[in-house]
Symmetry: C2
């Protein structure tokens, strides 16, 4: 299922060793946040708002506090006041008053499930009972759920400290004087769109809607905090970024960052949703009050209602082409639900919508809009899937209108090295063209479609991939193995993909490297596991550490052979000197204790950036014309994966990403009633795809090395979620001639469109 | 209570910050081996020999295995066979067949308490019950308990693979052909002792006996092992050297060293006794058999009977002096109990006995002798206390004979820089003279003795102190603090003493460094915590790591100021450049994420050696002439402590060491019956001193910096145990005219000598 554009030139890279954490995972030994047990540990529970929008008039905790077994109670009054300031968290900036108010509601609740108070008690049952004894008086406020309604000047405003900030736009400066649900207004322009549309033979303009969806990680959020008598705070938890949590805790609790130690446990899925903190500050404050460790594990409904899903959106796209299939202009208007507080991924949404193509003229306008839903957060290629659904549907319609093959059209217009994006940057070496070509020539695309109500669609997608900061240290064992210490939590198998790069550089086996992810006190600063950055950036740090080890081993060998180090070189897993002197890594490792002692290599990555990644997907569907149910018959993912360090994991990322996109396309949605209550906050009702719903996801790995990484690594984790909704929508059109313009494409939604078409 | 020979020139060194682990210790939060709890963990128990010397004819475990709740059973048949080979463990060499046979007896038992089998069961009660169901048939052998009797050719021989190895001696080569209890025979010579004794006006020759004593650590040995399905073995335990355990486990179980991870927990005392392994291989084999974690915690009687106490000894010393107090020659014959297998500290005993003095002519002969007692091991200045008791008693008697003040005499003859020891090496800068001078001019020594049966004695002692290997990494936090990672378990406060050296070098506060001791997979190779080496050697590594950080920060500052790094220097906690540019460490730390990312410093120490340390103690006692009870009235320790990094801890080491020496002098002993059963294997019967038995131990810190360390650190932990037995014996003589020549000087032993003197 995988093909490689480059011949194999590595010994370890490109192989498929068993993951280092594999046995612990399959035997159930791996330790997750909920496995943490500390002496005297209490259990905590959170009181959450029953209303989507209300003022808090009073909170009376006296009855709860009097319940035997209750040890501590906290509300937002226990959180330090936050000045109006924005803090850089590595993965983005956070406006502290909002970050804090999302931990424990301050004066008002912004969404159903908004945390109001925390209780620590001798048992979870007592804690839950105590929660019910807390008396809160509310004054309900009008609920705003729809992103377009929230933008109206007469809409109920969620935050009186939010004023529209215009970025690139100048026309609406006067709006800034009154609070608004519109937190940000972006405008990106390239060329002259009026002239561009004038050159077009065909112009199509369509509107699209997507609903809020959740990352759907299996493991709920958890935190076990112990605030020691010396002021040192330790937190064991599931997180994508222990150093980010450390900084958030420091800022939220106004304590020095070095007094906070975060111990990242194994993580049962994150996908962007385990970067912001929810429980740790509450657990910490409870622990501080009672002097005992406090553990809080989120309930499933709270995970849905009160963490950080990805926004629903309203998108308008207008694209012009010549009749021979050349794009002339594109225009987009995008509104994303920020949720309760500003912060949707509207900026990347704006940057991604036209990124797959070389648009000579383009204009993108985007809005970050507060609504009475949980504050959205990152979800795998944040913002890109929504806009890919829109642009790729329009491109498909354009192809049909001018009668051009959809793959052919994309090859004509694909972004390539040197193409300038609408937001400014110029692409380095990228593989958009290669992914389309791979699909165009795939067995899947070349196969004959058959059967009534069956159809095929393709769609492309883009994600940036980021660099950011990583640290590793690596120490040489006397038996020729290396212990590798990393600071970034391992979500998708990065212990192995980093170990493999270290092994490749040293010329040893992947199995000879023992990787571990340690706490914030035991390794250098490392940014979050996100942005498809770890195999790239931590990989660079590991290669640097390996070179550091090489350098030291060359010196040791020179000492042993009594020659100048300049006469010695590290080559192919061995140290080679004059007079046919040669020692393998393992042989010299056995001698280090007698030639100067321990050898420690360290490496960091900081300045490196990635070139971005592209994927093109092909979907075959069958539509039940009577029920609207869409069955996926075949699905192929082609992606520019740079150099596939561990092809098995890369395939897994492509498959997992595609499946999340398929769920988003066909099933998943936040189903709110008019009062703003999510009616499907369980995994029975919030339906993510299972293996029964899916064909085998076929993958084509196209290796276009990123020159900015020593082995050509390119992030692979995020882009595969982007194309599925459009690919499936295009296939549905191909099957039954119905153009779906909203997600999810559930049976009832598809059937409604079928019936509307028959009228 | 402390004086310093050097003016203060440091900001952090010499201050007394609160220890970083202090709060956890005083609040009971610190996690020891017995606090480890793993899911599904079983409890283990050990079957131990009731006989001191016997052949094992058969072991029948069938009844034990049939007991419900028993999950696994192991005997020595489960331990891999060991070839006849010696393995270097960093802290010394181990002969593998003996190391293995001491874990689980192989064919015969060598001492009462020798481990024979291990059981893992659902509870400790089931495990203990199962132990009783194991049926062992023995053939008892003659028991050898006395070191001199064990050397006789007609003695029952413990090990048929032990032949006398002569080191420096040639006369007894023929003995090597038959197995012997004498494992080693050392001979060190300097000058011409016959000529030396011919020059003497007075020659005194005396014989001394000491009994086996235990380190008396409060926390018993423990081990929790989990042998994972992927072949990776993890052990959580109390140990002085996690990397040494890793190596011992690798060699004992014949598995690659990198498959073993040792997690050092907090340690409740070691004093040398927690270097060799006892329980971990048994726990590991049990875990391998049943696939579950197994925890074994040693009982107190097993700690006494079956770990590694320090040997009893028989010593003959002959010393000659001129009548004006000049040493002319010394001769010593020393036999140490090795215990069941060879390995007593006879070599350091031989090297230490004459080390305090400049003997022009000397000869030392030493014997390592197997007896049916537990295999001895290191105990604080191993071998030096026994010999100090002998030599310092004889020196005292010589002083009285020629009528010279004991301090004066020592000043005349003290070893100093350039003095060659009997075993060859020449002293670097040492402080023996300074310690005697400090006592001679102390308030204590100058005070008037008063009262009948009251007396005063002084004695000196020496210990080498070692260097060996240490690794640290240190990472800079954005808030101007540093996380420091170490590999050596912290027994005596070294997290703080190392952090202080890092802080001093960086010009920050000790509180701004967060030290932690991590597992063997997360830091570079680090030798055992022992030999008074950590503050010295790990200190060097920390200073190197700090300089590594300085170098990187200079580069960062140069980047910010846009100048060449050669124009920038690190000075007094700040980075200073041209044009009055200056940033404190904290200011620059806040900028590192924007100037290249994380800053990680690493440092190792390997080649450095120490100059050795000396102490002179002064003891005032009162002897109850009717009961023989000795009461300590006043006690002063003067020691050359190099540079006292944290004077409070140094004082604590001097006090703790002296108290252990006092216990050895007055109370502690292994009390065996004729069958080789220890009759006092509890802390009620094995009497270590409590605060009710002791005066405040006064300390005089004499700072003679060791030039081999950047801050002049000298190991301080071991030497204070050496002088007390002799100082107290000399004081007893001063009080009642009775010369004690055996330890311990319990009431009955003192009374016996008093009565013998009256006959």
């Amino acid at each position: 299922m995988s093909t490689s554009a480059t011949p194999k030139k590595y010994k370890v890279i490109g192989t498929r060793p068993i993951r280092h954490d594999g046995v612990d995972k399959v035997t159930g030994r791996a330790k997750y946040g909920a496995d943490v047990k500390l002496p005297g540990m209490l259990q905590g529970a959170i009181l959450r708002s029953p209303h989507a929008h209300a003022k808090i008039l009073s909170i009376d905790t006296s009855k709860a506090a009097a319940l035997p077994g209750v040890r501590a109670l906290v509300t937002s009054a226990d959180l330090p006041d936050q000045e109006s300031r924005t803090v850089e968290l590595g993965e983005g900036a956070a406006y502290m008053p909002h970050l804090s108010a999302n931990i424990l509601a301050r004066g008002k609740v912004h969404y159903k499930g908004h945390a109001i108070a925390g209780v620590a008690a001798d048992s979870i049952h007592i804690a839950q009972q105590a929660i019910k004894l807390i008396e809160v008086r509310y004054e309900q406020l009008p609920v705003v759920l729809d992103v377009c309604q929230a933008m109206r000047s007469d809409a109920s405003v969620l935050n009186d400290d939010v004023f529209t900030e215009s970025i690139g736009a100048t026309a609406d400066q006067q709006k800034h004087l009154v609070p608004s649900n519109v937190a940000k207004h972006f405008l990106f322009e390239k060329g002259d769109i009026a002239a561009g549309f004038a050159l077009a033979d065909v112009v199509i303009e369509r509107e699209f809607d997507t609903t809020m969806v959740h990352q759907g990680y299996i493991e709920p959020h958890n935190a076990t905090a112990f605030w020691n008598a010396d002021g040192k705070l330790s937190v064991w938890m599931s997180t994508q970024g222990s150093f980010s949590v450390q900084l958030q805790m420091s800022e939220l609790l106004r304590i020095p960052v070095s007094t906070v130690k975060i111990v990242p446990m194994e993580i049962g899925g994150g996908f962007g949703g385990k970067i912001s903190v929810y429980l740790p500050p509450v657990a910490a404050l409870l622990s501080k009050k009672c002097g005992l460790p406090v553990q809080i594990i989120m309930t499933r409904d709270a995970v849905f209602e009160a963490t950080g899903p990805t926004p629903g959106s309203h998108i308008r796209v207008k694209v012009g082409v010549t009749k021979d299939g050349k794009l002339t202009a594109g225009e987009a208007w995008i509104a994303f639900e920020a949720g309760a507080f500003p912060g949707s991924p509207i900026a990347p949404g704006c940057m991604c919508i036209f990124a797959c193509y070389d648009f000579p003229n383009a204009r993108v306008e985007g809005f970050d809009v507060c609504v009475n839903k949980p504050r959205t957060n990152a979800y795998r290629a944040p913002g890109s899937t929504q806009v890919a659904f829109a642009i790729e549907s329009v491109v498909d319609e354009l192809c049909r209108t001018i009668g051009m093959d959809a793959a052919e059209f994309r090859l004509h217009n694909a972004a390539k090295e040197g193409t300038r994006r609408v937001d400014g940057p110029v692409f380095a070496r990228i593989g958009m063209t290669e992914t389309v070509e791979a699909i165009r020539t795939s067995q899947h695309y070349l196969s004959t479609k058959s059967g009534k109500y069956q159809g095929r669609g393709i769609a492309s997608g883009f994600w940036f991939n980021v660099g950011m900061k990583s640290s590793v240290t690596a120490t040489v064992n006397a038996d020729g193995t290396v212990a590798l210490v990393e600071g970034c939590p391992d979500i998708g198998g990065t212990r192995t993909s980093i170990a493999m790069q270290l092994a490749e550089t040293l010329g040893i086996r992947a199995e000879d490297v023992s990787p571990s992810v340690v706490d914030t006190g035991s390794v250098g600063y490392s940014d979050v596991t996100g942005g498809s950055r770890i195999t790239f950036a931590t990989g660079i740090a590991a290669v640097e550490a390996a070179r550091d080890i090489q350098r030291q081993l060359v010196e040791r060998a020179a000492l042993i052979w009594d020659v100048d180090p300049s006469q010695v070189r590290y080559e192919d897993g061995a140290i080679v000197g004059p007079s046919s002197n040669r020692m393998t890594f393992g042989e010299l490792a056995g001698k280090i204790h007698h030639t100067g002692g321990p050898v420690i290599g360290s490496g960091t990555s900081s300045a490196a950036t990635q070139a971005g990644a592209f994927g093109t997907h092909c979907a075959d569907v069958e539509v039940d014309a009577d029920t609207g149910k869409v069955t996926l018959l075949r699905y192929t993912v082609a992606q520019d994966v740079g150099t596939a360090i561990h092809p098995g994991y890369v395939e897994g990322q492509l498959q997992g990403g595609a499946v999340q996109g398929i769920g988003w396309a066909l099933n998943e949605e936040y189903w709110y009633n008019e009062q703003g209550t999510m009616k499907n906050a369980t995994f029975l009702d919030y339906r993510i795809p299972t293996c029964y719903d899916l064909p085998m996801i076929e993958t084509i790995l196209i290796e276009v090395p990123d020159p900015q990484h020593p082995y050509g690594v390119r992030g692979v984790g995020e882009v595969p979620i982007c194309p599925p909704p459009a690919a499936i929508a295009n296939a549905i059109y191909d099957a039954i001639g119905v153009r779906m313009n909203s997600l999810p494409m559930t049976p009832q939604n598809v059937l409604r469109n079928i019936l509307a078409g028959k009228q």
